[in-house]
């Protein structure tokens, strides 16, 4: 009993360590600036900080971020889901080697991709386009999509597909009527994870665009001292709040899939 209480206290401290920066930033983002500077816990609250933040280009950047993330999901799923299906469903020579190769592609640093691609994109007219950023994000997300979907399809029982065939469904009908509905929750989680990768990615987004900036790229450009960023405090608080908002919703849904997405195996 005492032991359990002690563990709860330790867990509470750990939760505080995570929650404090988040909570305080949300408080700061919603507080009146003058009031925030004077008091530890502000007493006057306003939406003005967000209004200013959005007026200074962040709203457009937010829309771009969402568009890039959506494009990333479309591209990486179009390429990754079929590959995941094959890896999860069919036995063929070299499957393990292919799996391992895809696993190690997760380690590929974005720098080595983004810099040469920026040069190439300038030549072929993809520089400063949302599609260009989405292509790089899709390349980053693709190994995850393949690995996650292969384990999802692996978990769909083959007997059910066979039962469908016995009842006279065609191969395509089996896929759309039996396999896909069973795989849907896992695929939703994979889509959310792909969204997170794209939503959070700043390096490629900053390198590959100078006007069409996504929200993280805009935030880096406006807050980094030394490269011309000197955004005032309220702007930073609002940016932090908006950028971390999706995490709360997404993590609630993805709990089951943690190891598949951030684990090594």
């Amino acid at each position: 009993m005492l032991r359990s209480l002690l563990l709860t206290v330790v867990a509470a401290l750990l939760s505080l360590w995570i929650l404090l920066p988040l909570t305080y930033t949300f408080i700061a983002a919603l507080a009146d600036v003058k009031n925030y500077y004077e008091r530890l816990v502000p007493t006057e609250y306003t939406l003005e900080n967000f209004a200013v933040f959005f007026r200074l280009g962040a709203f457009d950047a937010l829309l771009r971020s969402v568009a890039v993330a959506a494009l990333t999901i479309v591209i990486s799923f179009a390429l990754g889901v079929p590959a995941g299906y094959v890896l999860g469903r069919l036995a063929f020579r070299g499957r393990d080697a292919l799996r391992l190769a895809i696993l190690s592609a997760r380690m590929f640093p974005v720098m080595i991709m983004a810099v040469p691609l920026a040069v190439l994109f300038i030549d072929i007219g993809l520089y400063d386009t949302l599609l260009g950023i989405a292509l790089v994000h899709a390349a980053l997300a693709l190994p995850f999509v393949v690995i996650i979907t292969s384990s999802i399809f692996l978990s769909v029982p083959r007997e059910m597909e066979e039962a469908g065939m016995v009842f006279g469904l065609s191969g395509w009908q089996v896929f759309t009527k039996i396999t896909m509905p069973l795989a849907a929750p896992g695929l939703t989680a994979a889509a959310m994870f792909t969204f997170v990768i794209s939503w959070n990615e700043a390096f490629a987004a900053a390198i590959l665009a100078s006007r069409e900036r996504t929200l993280p790229a805009l935030t880096v450009a406006t807050t980094v001292a030394g490269i011309g960023g000197a955004a005032p405090d309220p702007y930073r608080f609002a940016a932090a709040a908006i950028l971390s908002l999706p995490a709360f919703l997404i993590m609630a849904y993805m709990r089951k899939h943690l190891t598949a997405m951030w684990g090594v195996r």
Partner: protein
């Protein structure tokens, strides 16, 4: 490429990168190991605490850097709290070239806050796979906790530890936004240098050389990693 590798700048950048790795990775490992033991137990509020502890996995490094800026800036949480309590009379400065060691500390805090969960998820998954009976047996034979840790748990957890540390090392090589946002250009590392040379100096060849070095570094670490992954598969 050679020109970059032989420059004095390269040595400085590499040293900074390695120093940050040396400060961040052991802290993350110890915290993640402690959290693994904690979340294996049953207690009230476990689910909520676990959700919160892994929450930073989905938070971007850009946002995390801003969160820690909010905590540590001259009018931030820490300084206002300490002033209110009367511990200090002037704010502790964390930012600016003259306070580079404090900027270093801010980066470490930010990275430990944000990315410990990645180490944790791997260690936790590995710990779940350990045969409970082995740990129970060691308890029956009267091993103390440090002894159990040293002779039973850590050896069994070794594959997970190795892969968690390697994946952390690789991701840490790509650390970029927190460093730029908390320290500006005061503490250049491999990734920020690549960004700066390309984005500000518009020197694509030189930026490519930096990127290539990150790639080679990653490849070397990955080679070790793939080998470890194979052997750990065989063991199981």
């Amino acid at each position: 490429m050679l020109e970059v590798l032989l420059s004095r700048r390269f040595l400085e950048v590499l040293t900074n990168t390695l120093l940050l790795l040396a400060a961040i990775i052991p802290s993350q490992f110890l915290l993640a190991l402690a959290a693994t033991f904690l979340f294996t137990e049953r207690f009230r509020g476990r689910e909520v605490a676990l959700y919160l502890f892994v929450l930073p996995l989905a938070i971007s490094d850009v946002a995390a850097a801003l969160l820690w800026y909010t905590m540590l800036s001259p009018k931030g949480f820490l300084n206002k709290l300490l002033m209110e309590l009367g511990v200090i009379s002037r704010p502790i400065q964390f930012f600016g070239y003259a306070f580079r060691h404090m900027e270093f500390l801010a980066i470490v805090l930010c990275e430990v806050w944000r990315a410990t969960a990645i180490v944790f998820v791997n260690l936790y998954a590995g710990y779940q796979m350990i045969d409970r009976e082995l740990i129970e047996a060691s308890e029956v034979f009267g091993l103390s906790f440090p002894q159990r840790l040293r002779y039973v748990i850590l050896p069994l957890l070794k594959p997970s530890i190795e892969s968690a540390l390697l994946i952390r090392t690789l991701f840490a090589l790509q650390m970029f936004a927190p460093i730029l946002m908390l320290a500006g250009l005061d503490i250049p590392v491999l990734a920020t240098e690549t960004f700066y040379v390309f984005g500000q100096l518009f020197d694509a060849p030189r930026a490519s050389a930096w990127a290539l070095f990150i790639g080679m570094f990653t490849l070397a670490v990955s080679a070790v990693y793939v080998r470890l992954l194979r052997t750990s598969r065989v063991v199981r």
